[in-house]
């Protein structure tokens, strides 16, 4: 028994500590890498938070929207018109982005009209399940539509992104990761400003707090929903592009990585933008470090579940997440 405990101590604490001590640069590089990945998690999670805050919908299809938007962009950039057949003409990147955003707008309109509106006043869990349906639909629809362009690379040059490593104080970073992190950071700040300062943002917050109250002050609920789904679509596009850039190519298999945003979400709390930022960083760094230093003792690819278990443990102590609003049950 004692040996076992010593084993645990050595495996999980002592040996990693020694390793870190011996090679701090490697450790820092991993932390930095984890942070970069984490910010991407945050970006996807941000999409969830936006929609949840404004409409009370936990949009399970958010990662699917990211892939959908990105593939749409690639389609417009690459071969517009008949992507499934593989003929057509490419557009400039700006037009492609606009095209992609138009598609997200159409999607938002359809979702609002055909799915959310009929389900208004239903319990949140029903809406959640409906978004799982949306997830499947988008996957099937997307796979059919983008049959021929799946697995295409993100048009990095057109987007002005550079590939290759760079060094800061002897620690190596990928330019792609850094760009992604920077874009994500800008995105987060923009959204935070929008939520806090603009009238649209205030309206959105009002909608989230109380649908009835929002209605009574004259905010058209449906418009707000479309706006927030479009904003979430934009976030999805950016996050999809960044993921695609760092992964090399975009296809529907990416969704599994994107699902990693879920533990980020519950760790940070559904309703908190700073929460998901910090949650994403914690999970990004945590799983990278765990993978590097603990896998000798637990086995490979701890990443696949580490984030979930970490979130689960946090939830047991804080059911509303680290930054979520505490629920007071009233009777």
């Amino acid at each position: 028994m004692l040996e076992f405990i010593i084993g645990l101590y050595e495996g999980f604490l002592a040996n990693p500590a020694v390793e870190i001590w011996q090679d701090p640069a490697y450790f820092i590089q991993n932390v930095a890498g984890g942070l970069m990945v984490g910010i991407l998690y945050s970006l996807v999670a941000l999409g969830y938070v936006l929609i949840y805050k404004a409409s009370g919908v936990f949009n399970f299809a958010q990662p699917m929207m990211a892939i959908f938007a990105t593939l749409a962009l690639i389609m417009f950039h690459d071969k517009v018109l008949f992507p499934a057949i593989g003929t057509g003409y490419g557009l400039t990147i700006v037009l492609a982005i606009i095209g992609s955003m138009v598609m997200m707008l159409i999607l938002a309109l359809l979702v609002e009209r055909l799915m959310l509106r009929p389900l208004v006043n239903q319990p949140e869990i029903i809406l959640f399940m409906a978004t799982i349906g949306l997830y499947y639909f988008l996957e099937g629809f997307g796979e059919t539509m983008f049959n021929k362009i799946a697995n295409s690379p993100v048009p990095m040059e057109s987007l002005g992104m550079e590939i290759g490593p760079f060094f800061v104080g002897g620690v190596m970073f990928q330019k792609v990761d850094a760009t992604a992190a920077a874009v994500a950071a800008v995105m987060v700040i923009l959204l935070a400003v929008m939520f806090q300062k603009t009238s649209v943002g205030r309206a959105l917050r009002a909608v989230a707090d109380d649908h009835q109250a929002a209605l009574s002050v004259g905010i058209p609920l449906s418009v707000m929903w479309v706006v927030v789904w479009v904003v979430a679509g934009a976030v999805a596009l950016v996050s999809g592009l960044m993921w695609g850039a760092s992964a090399g190519a975009v296809d529907f298999g990416m969704v599994f990585v994107a699902l990693k945003a879920l533990p980020v979400l519950i760790l940070g709390g559904f309703t908190s933008i700073p929460g998901v930022i910090i949650g994403g960083l914690i999970i990004g760094v945590g799983e990278r470090i765990a993978e590097i230093y603990w896998s000798p003792y637990l086995g490979d690819s701890i990443e696949s579940w580490f984030a979930y278990i970490l979130a689960l443990i946090v939830l047991i102590y804080r059911p509303e997440g680290l930054f979520g609003e505490k629920l007071i049950e009233r009777i």
């Binding site: 009209r113 639909f137 099937g140 533990p263 559904f270 939830l315």
Partner: protein, 397 residues
Amino acid sequence: MFYREAGQFKASYGTDQAIFPIAQDKWFVLAVVAAAYLVVPLVANSYWYEVILTPVVVMSLSALGLNVLTGYCGQISLGHGGFMAVGAFAAFKIATAFPELNVIIVFLISGLFAAFAGVIFGIPSLRIKGFYLAVATLASQFFFEWWFQQVGWFSNYAPSGTITAPSQEFMGVVISGPSATGVVKYLIGLTFLVFFCIVVKNLVRSHIGRSWMAIRDMDIAAEIIGIKPLQTKLLAFAISSYIAGVSGALFLFLMRISLEMEAFDIIAISFPVLFMVIVGGLGSVMGSIFGAVFIIGTPVFIKNFPELTTASVILVLAGLSVAWLTKYGVWRWVPLVIGVPLAVFVFFQKFASNTAEHIVLMFFGLSIVLVLIFEPNGLARLWQIAKEKFRLWPYPY
């Protein structure tokens, strides 16, 4: 139309609380079960057994398990595949370690392991609710996926992690393994399904089931009438996972014979089973079976009858446009405007094999949303409504 209830009066609470208080219902269900046992083996061929019948009975059982947890107790779970995997791997380990042990007993024992896993991962449900819990259950899914792949012991150190159901004979009949015939596997699966349907039905109409439903409908009020929330939820987790475990064992021994851990991943199992439960009907034993038939039958239908599929998709979309006549104004044409060209386009693609799968995905997604919008209680509720109509026949209400 078929009902002649006059004169069926109840002189005791026993008859009043029977599962089927109306004689015609009872006879109908008995007739269906009898047909499943006696008529189906006479007419089915091996394609039917492999593609429809055995999958339907096994997945019905799995959906029944999830329905206990999600439908009756209201705890949504996305980790059902994980618990099925526990059952499958446990059954594999036990069956290979004790080759003499009858596999039927192996199945029943392997469920216990899944039940244990369910209880462990159910503990957070005391504090976590709604989709926080849904996401938390993903933890179990990913953890088991990783664990069974990572630890070679579970697959008896097979290099690819593949496990294969060992063969076994019972009273001269091969009842498991690659050489077992379709009819035997189907009948074993059916027997498990019937048995667990009765068990679950009995549980849900007892105080245990009422406690689950009380927790589901309003947990605060449940606590105030003396229901212990943790115990009740854990019991639901345990029974749900037990049934999931047994169905996982059947999944390996009767359906796949040989599989890897991926067979239980979230896309392969957890979501489809959740769909079965939603489409079939949350909180309905019958609904679990309806859901499994729908989710398993639809892809088979689409693959075998592409023309009919295209036609029926167009019909459904048109029907939708009509159904939304008054509610959504001009928006009601959207399904037609998008759907019809799509359906036609898909048809001219001649159903390249992967396209068919994508159609299935779209179809599932669409049906979930439609079910939630139009009949949140699923096919079981439609069945109920039809039954009510027949009882009232020829009156409209």
